[in-house]
Structures are given as C-alpha cells and as structure tokens.
C-alpha cells in the first residue's frame, strides 16, 4: 500500500492501538498510561497536519478495505473530513491532558482511558468515512465507546444517565441503519461525493428518497440533539467533566451534526435537497431546537445542565447553516463546527475546575469566583462571550456568516432566529459573568480544595481551558488568515458548490 492509501488508516489507528493497550495495563501504571495517551495524541496530530497540507493541494487519501463483495470500508479525506478530524485531534490532545489531571486519584483509570481512546478513534472514523456504510459502522462504535464513559462513576445517577443515553442512541442508530440500508437497496452503495449522488436518480423513487431523508435525519438527530430527540443530553451530564467536554464539543453531538451535513451535501446534494423542500424542513427543525435549547438553558441553575442545553441550541447552528441554500451560510455552519467546539470545551473545562477547586456546581454559587480563580474565569468569559456572539471571539464569525448567508438566500426569518437566540444566549450567560466578576465571594465555598502550587488549580487542569480560550479568540481574530477554520470552511463551500 502506498503512503496515500495508508494515511487515513494510520490516523485512525494512532488512537485505537494505544486505547487497546491501555485496557491491558494494571491500575498502577500511571506513567506508561500517560505516555501511551500522549504518544497517540501527538502522533495523530502530526499525521493530521500532514493530511491538511495534502488535502489543500488536492491530494486524494483513501484507505479501502473490502468487507464482503459489494460492501467496502472506505476511509478517505476531503476538505470537510479534514475540518472535523483536525478539530477532534486537537481537542483530544487538550482533553487528554485535562483528563489526566482531573482523574488523578480516581479508580478505574485504565478502563476510562481505554474507552476514551476508542471514542476518539470512532469520531475520527466518522470524520474520515467515505461511504454511508463506513459512517454507520463508526457511528455505532461511538455509541459503544461512550456508554462506559457516561456510566463511569457507577453511581445510581450515572447508571440512569447511561441507560437513557443508550436508549436514545441505540434507537437513533437503528433508524440510521434502516435508512442507510433502504437507500443502498434503492440506489446501490452510497459513496460520499461532492454534489451528492441522488441528483440523477429516476423520478419515480423521489418520494421514497424524501422519506429516507427523514429516517436518516431522525437517526442522526438523536446524536445531534435535535428537538425532540435531545432528551439524553442533559441526562448524560452525570459523566466526569472531561467526558462532558468530549461529548459536547467533539464527539457525540458533532458526529450527529457532521452526519447531517454529509447527508445533505454529499448524499442528497444541496440542490436536490433544496428543490424537494428538505432544506426547509431541516431549517425549521434546527430553528426550533435553537430557540428551545436556549429557553431551557435559561431555567437551569446547575451550571453543567445550563451548558448542556446551550449545546442543544448551539449545535443546531451547524444544521441551520446546512439548511440554507447558498455558500455563505454553508461557511457559517461549517465553521461553527470548529468554533462551537473550541468555545464549548473551554466552558466545560472551566465548569470542571469550579467543581474541582471550590465544589461549585450551581450558577447561584458562582458569586465572586472571578477573583478566586481569575484564569479559569477569564477563559470562561471568553467562551461565554463567544457563545453570545460578541466580536472578536469565534462565535461572532459563525453568526455573521449565517446571517449574511440567510440574507443572501432570501431567508430573512433565519436572521430573526439568530437575533432571538443571541438575546437568549446573553440572558443566560451574562448573569453568570456578572456573578463571577462583580459580586462578592461568599465566606465559605461549598467544598474547597486548596491547591498547593502557585496557580489557582493544578496546571493540567488550568492550561487546557486557557489554551482553548486562546484558540477560540484567535479563530475569531485571525479569521482571514490562511488555514484558519473560516478559510477552511470557505474552501469546503467552494468545493461543494463547485465554483
């Protein structure tokens, strides 16, 4: 096999192999486990950087493995997969550091980090899937790998959350499977192709194709937490903080949103989807989710739950971008895949730090945390402002392009949705910032663990949110620089719309 055919598989295996080895390690082998984790993450990063350059130059990377006659496992890289792969690889590295710090003294770490690596491998597999079969395979493996992470703590709460998570995702997986098989029975193996493959399909199967679209959407919508399929997400909050970060920013919800983007652009084709009203349906669903998620976030006192509902809302920006016919909105949706990831992971890291250092779990307990934990709170502030859409943080760029795209496509109602959503975002984030910075601290924190070093909390817990906050800020500040997420999203839109 040539190097080009080997690269996608290597990227997948760079986290899979360490994961498998970690399972076998005894609980005490801290060093070896950390070494395996970090080696995997760094090797993956190197390979992905290599791939980014190649894909930019139009190089084709494809690993193809025949499972049985007519069924191929295809890993391939186009601009869209690179966007997702790069995001997950970068954030895996950061989250691994954070998780090592966060779980320093807790039990069952071999099991945790093993599944953690499998989870990232599945996400990368989803990103690199070259056909619908491969996508379904990794989508299901992701479910299998995240279940143990959600259940990890073993408390009755965790068991319940994991059960709800499983019920939703298994149901979604089954629908996706049915849709994929139905589609394949109708049109043959479905390879992801720019412009979609269904534009040329015969007229008499059009109704069936539309029906299949909704089956697929229901299957993907569970992970993407589209209303009313989002019920698992707030429940899954019982997982340890690094898992929540991974679930919300990188792996699970993104896998769903990414799948929707793939189905719209590379299976159905945006023109076919537009002409048959599929885009409008998706847009309405996304808008309802955006508003609903924000309203629910407003009513939560638990910080993690508020962030969870915020995820429900924000992830749908990606689907919204895909649902507007026109390259500018596409850019907005795609770039939000990365931007939301950077901002949301920052917020979850910070929430984890508040809980870890001060025992603060609720918004109402956050008075004065700014002065007590300035760096964490600064990172949190950047993330929150970004979510609201304040320039120059990355979130502003996404919303700007979405709005511009909507205006360009004549869907002015979308702008209304964006404005309402931003107001709601402000309504549930600004009070937190106000409490953190402008209210006096209580005499005693709920459960304080004073860190011995010079920093407010262990470095492994502090640096990750600071780094991701800086990244979120830079993605906005330097949006026009080459290889910025925005530039990359423009490249995708250019290729999808064939200009």
């Amino acid at each position: 096999m040539s190097f080009d055919a080997w690269l996608p598989a290597a990227i997948l295996l760079s986290s899979m192999i360490p994961g498998m080895l970690i399972f076998l390690l005894s609980e005490e082998s801290h060093r070896l486990r950390t070494a395996l984790n970090m080696t995997g993450a760094l090797v993956k990063l190197g390979l992905v950087i290599w791939m980014i350059g190649g894909v930019y130059d139009g190089q084709r990377y494809e690993t193809r493995w025949t499972l049985s006659p007519g069924l191929d496992l295809v890993l391939s890289a186009d601009a869209l997969s690179v966007l997702f792969v790069a995001l997950s690889t970068l954030l895996w590295l950061v989250t691994t550091i954070y998780a090592i710090g966060y779980l320093e003294h807790s039990p069952n770490r071999s099991r945790f980090f093993g599944f953690f690596s499998v989870c990232v491998s599945a996400t990368v597999g989803i990103a690199l899937s070259g056909n619908l079969l491969t996508f379904v395979i990794f989508y299901e493996i992701l479910t299998l790998a995240t279940y143990p992470l959600v259940a990890h703590r073993g408390t009755p709460d965790a068991a319940h959350g994991a059960k709800v998570y499983l019920a939703y995702t298994m149901g979604g997986g089954a629908l996706l499977l049915v849709g994929a098989i139905w589609l394949q029975a109708l049109v043959g193996p479905v390879e992801f192709t720019q412009g979609g493959i269904l534009g040329v399909s015969p007229e008499e199967i059009r109704m069936e194709l539309i029906l299949i679209f909704f089956v697929l959407l229901a299957g993907l919508g569970v992970k993407a937490a589209l209303v009313p399929l989002h019920g698992w997400l707030p429940q899954a909050m019982v997982a340890p903080a690094p898992v929540s970060a991974l679930l919300h920013a990188v792996a699970v919800v993104k896998a769903g949103a990414f799948g929707i983007v793939r189905v719209v652009y590379d299976v159905y084709g945006v023109e076919f989807a537009y002409a048959n009203g599929l885009l409008l349906a998706l847009g309405i669903l996304a808008s309802v989710t955006i508003i609903y998620g924000s309203m629910m976030a407003l009513t939560q006192d638990s910080l993690k739950k508020r962030l969870a509902y915020s995820t429900v809302s924000q992830v749908s920006y990606i689907a919204l971008g895909a649902s507007i016919f026109g390259p500018i909105a596409t850019i907005g949706g795609m770039v939000h895949l990365v931007h939301q990831g950077l901002m949301k992971i920052t917020l979850f890291f910070c929430a984890g730090n508040y809980a870890e250092a001060l025992g603060v779990h609720k918004v109402s307990e956050m008075d004065g945390v700014g002065r007590r934990m300035p760096w964490t709170s600064l990172a949190f502030t950047v993330g929150a402002l970004g979510m609201i859409g304040v320039p120059p943080v990355a979130g502003f760029v996404s919303k700007w392009y979405l709005g511009l795209g909507a205006a360009d496509a004549g869907s002015n109602w979308v702008i209304g949705v964006l404005i309402v959503s931003s107001l709601l975002n402000a309504a549930y984030f600004l009070p937190i910032l106000h409490r953190a910075w402008f209210r006096p601290a209580p005499k005693q924190w709920p459960q304080e663990h004073r860190h011995a070093g010079r920093l407010e909390i262990a470095g492994a817990l502090l640096w990750p949110p600071v780094i991701t906050a800086v990244l979120a800020l830079s993605a906005g500040l330097f949006a026009a620089a080459p290889f910025s997420p925005l530039e990359w999203a423009s490249l995708i839109a250019e290729r999808e719309y064939g200009r």
């Binding site: 069924l71 496992l73 299901e140 089954a174 029975a185």
Partner: protein
C-alpha cells in the same frame, strides 16, 4: 490431504476411548485429543479452500454402499468454526472442572465432538442419522453432568425431544430409500422428483431437524437444558449442537430438496424464525439469570437464521443469492463464536460470584475485566453491532430483503436487534460499580483467555476479515 477427513472424525473417537481407559490422565489426554482433532479439521478447511471439494470413501467401498465423507465449502466453514470453538471450550474445561467431574466430562465431550465432525462431513443420509443420534445422546448426557435435579429433568426432556427429532428424520430417510434406492446426498439429489413422496420425506426430515434446532415453538426444551448445564457444556450446546441441526436443514434445503422446494415452506420457516426472534429476545430480556438469558438469546439467534429461507427462496440464482447464502453462513458462524464466548465468560463470572443472578453480579463483573470484556464483545456480536460479523451479515440480509420489497423481515430483525441491545446492556451495566477493585486485566488465563479470544473473533475477526468465507464457499456451496 484426504486423510485429514477421516482423521477429524476418528481422532476424537480415539481420544474418547483413551480417556475412558486411563481416567486418571483424562485432562491431559483429552486436551491432546482436542488439539489434534482441531488441527486435522482445520487442515480439511485449508485443503477445501485451496484444492476444492474433498471426498473420502472409507474401506474402499464407493457410493452407494460404503461410508463416504465429503467436505465442500459449506461443511468446511462450519467445521472450522466448530473446531475452533471446541478447542477453546476444551482449554477452558481443563481449568474449569475438578478432577472427579473431569473424568465424566472428557469421554462424553470427545464423543460429541466426533459426532459433530461426522455430521458436517457425512455424505449420505443414513450416516447423517447416525451422527445426529450420537450427537443428541452425548449432548443430553453432558447437560446432566452437574447432577442437580433441574439439570437431570431438563436433559431427560432434551433427550426425549432429541430422539423424537431423530426418529422423524429417520422416517424421512427410510421413505427416500424405499422410493429411490439411494442414500448418498449427491445421488438422492439427482434422483429426487417433486411429488408426494419427496414432499413427505422433506417434511419429516426437516421437522425433525427444526425440533433439534429449537426453532420456535419447538424451543421449549432448550432454555432449561442449556441454562442448567456446566458452563463449557452450555457453550457447546448453544453454539454448536443446535447449529449442527441448522447446518443440516440448510444442507438438505440446498442440495437435496432444491427441486421440491416451494415458497410456502420457506415462508413458514421464516415466520417461525421471526416469532423466535421476538419471543426469544423478549424472554432473554425478562430472564433473571445470566445463563438463562444466554439460552433464550440462542432461541432468538436461531430465528434469524431461519428468516434467511424465505429470502433465499425469493432470490434468483446468481451473485445476490450467493452473497445472501454467505451472509447466512457468516451469521451462523459469528453466533457460534459469540455465544460460546458469552457462556464461557458467564461461567467464569458465575463461579466467582457463586451464582448467576444478573441483579447481583456487579462486584464479580467489575473484578473480572477480561471476562466482562468477553461478555461485552460477544454481546456486540449478539446484538449485531459493528464491527461484528453479525452486523455485516444482517446488513446483507436486510439489504436483500429491501431489494426484494420484503420489508417486514427488516422490521422484525430491527425489533430483535433493539431487544438484544436491551438485554445485553442490562448485563453490562452491572460492570460499572462504585467500588474500586484492584485492576488486573486477566485473572485466570486458562478460563478467561479462551472466552476473550472467541469474543474477539466474533467481533473483529469475522466482521473485518469475512472475505475468505466467500472463497471457501466458492468450493461447491454456491450455485
């Protein structure tokens, strides 16, 4: 090369004699016989793969008089699965049984193994009857090994049901012999003509076999028999013995009764299969004991295999039908590995906890990562999730069902899949317990590794590297 054919039947038989004569060395001799048998059987598979269909006429007599053995792709596929699983069971049994019970286990187990290999390789209908009878007798005796009242009662029933099944089969054989004067499968296939005789013979033979394969509603004997046997025996019964009966139905369907077939019969088998999928999965979900759950899961999994018949009947010969056939075989093989792995691991958990009540298994499951992983991997294959062989097989079956427009089979199989996910995760969720345990991945290599390996084969081996199965089935099984 040809010699490996009779060897894979006679070696375990010799082993059975040896362990009876020298019971003090039962374990060592038994393991030796197991390794040699598996090696000879895998040699047969390799030879079929590279050289094509093998045939051996014992004693120099050709058909229609002598005892003939024949291996084509279909038999070779089942043979290799059965012998790999049987070898794993043997290694496990070496660590599982205490001295006294080992004496009773090994002779019966090797006898069963010999019958099993004979069944996959026999080339005529009467020899098939002999192997079937021997298989049933040794299986029932093994099942009663624990000696508990439940086990003895369940296996007495199993024995009677088995005899009834063999009798029905034998009647069909007698009918064929009186009508056509031949017993060799190839010769019968040439001679047989559609008509009342052929139809009656087919009905008798297939009814006998589906009774032995525990197809709904004839499954009633299976759960108590499989759940009360010792773990390695449960594994053999659930993974191999019922599978042998299914193999014979498939063999007769494809090779002997092809001219007599009609869609009504195929649909009837499919409907019973669908009922088995739903009922078996539901009962598995309600089961309070781990091994009972596994036994009901077998009822459900056998159902999937029978759903293949209406699909096969509706698909015209050609590439699509070949793929469908391969998918069915893949499903059967994957289930063999997965169910054996599941039972072996469950046995380990049961031994550690002292019981197998699912609700109280938490600590034991958490303390045995390798066994729990084996249950998890086997579970992935039982549900039919990727990357297991079951997923691939189900995908192909479902796609063909959709192409044929027979969407209701898809609905049934998806319901079964979701129910399976529910009953498997009901078990797995116990492994997440709050107490931290000293973590070592493998605690008892001899019993945990065979289970883990079987689980890995089912989930990764057959899912990702299923391609060789097609090459194997090219040898006489397709077309």
């Amino acid at each position: 090369m040809i010699d490996a054919l009779p060897l894979s039947v006679t070696l375990p038989l010799l082993g059975a004699f040896a362990v009876t004569v020298w019971p003090a060395h039962a374990r060592a001799l038994g393991l030796l016989a197991a390794v040699l048998t598996a090696a000879s059987a895998l040699t047969v598979t390799a030879a079929v793969w590279t050289e094509g269909v093998l045939r051996a006429d014992l004693g120099g007599w050709g058909a229609p008089l002598g005892i003939a053995l024949e291996a084509d792709g279909l038999s070779a596929a089942f043979l290799s699965m059965a012998n790999t699983v049987a070898l794993a069971i043997s290694v496990y049994a070496g660590g599982y049984f205490k001295r006294e019970s080992a004496r009773h286990f090994w002779p019966l187990w090797l006898l069963l193994w010999s019958a099993l290999n004979g069944l996959f390789l026999a080339a005529d209908l009467f020899n098939l009857y002999v192997t079937l009878e021997l298989l049933g007798l040794s299986a029932a005796a093994l099942g009663a090994l624990t000696g508990t009242r439940e086990a003895v009662a369940a296996n007495l029933r199993y024995l009677l049901v088995g005899l009834l099944g063999s009798m029905s089969y034998l009647l069909g054989v007698a009918l064929v012999y009186t009508a056509y004067g031949v017993l060799d499968i190839g010769l019968v296939a040439e001679a047989i003509e559609p008509g009342p005789v052929a139809w009656t013979a087919m009905t008798l033979m297939i009814s006998g076999l589906i009774l032995k394969a525990a197809l709904f509603p004839m499954h009633f004997w299976l759960p108590p028999a499989h759940a009360n046997a010792p773990a390695p025996v449960s594994a053999a019964l659930s993974a191999l013995v019922v599978k042998a009966a299914f193999y014979l139905v498939l063999r007769l369907w494809l090779d002997v009764f092809a001219p007599v077939l009609n869609e009504a019969a195929a649909n009837l088998l499919g409907i019973l299969g669908a009922a088995a999928v739903v009922w078996g999965s539901w009962r598995a979900l309600r089961a309070e004991r781990l091994k009972l759950l596994a036994a009901y899961s077998t009822v459900a999994q056998m159902g999937y295999l029978f759903i293949a018949f209406p699909l096969l009947a509706a698909t015209p010969p050609g590439l699509a039908r070949d793929n469908l056939l391969a998918a069915v075989v893949l499903l059967a093989l994957t289930h063999g590995f997965a169910k054996a792995g599941f039972f072996l691991a469950a046995g380990m958990v049961q031994k550690t906890a002292g019981h197998d009540r699912i609700d109280e298994l938490g600590g034991a499951a958490q303390a045995l990562p390798a066994a729990t992983f084996a249950i998890g991997l086997a579970g992935v294959a039982l549900i039919g999730l990727p990357p297991s062989g079951t997923f691939l097989a189900k995908w192909m079956m479902l796609e063909q069902a959709m192409i044929l427009g027979l969407w209701w089979w898809l609905v049934v199989m998806m319901i079964g899949t979701l129910l399976a996910a529910a009953y498997i995760f009901r078990v797995l969720s116990r492994a997440f317990n709050r107490e931290p345990t000293p973590y070592r991945f493998v605690n008892d290599a001899r019993t945990e590794l065979p289970a883990l390996l079987l689980g890995l084969i089912a989930t990764f081996g057959l899912g990702i590297a299923a391609q060789p199965l097609w090459a194997l089935l090219e040898q006489g099984a397709f077309g």
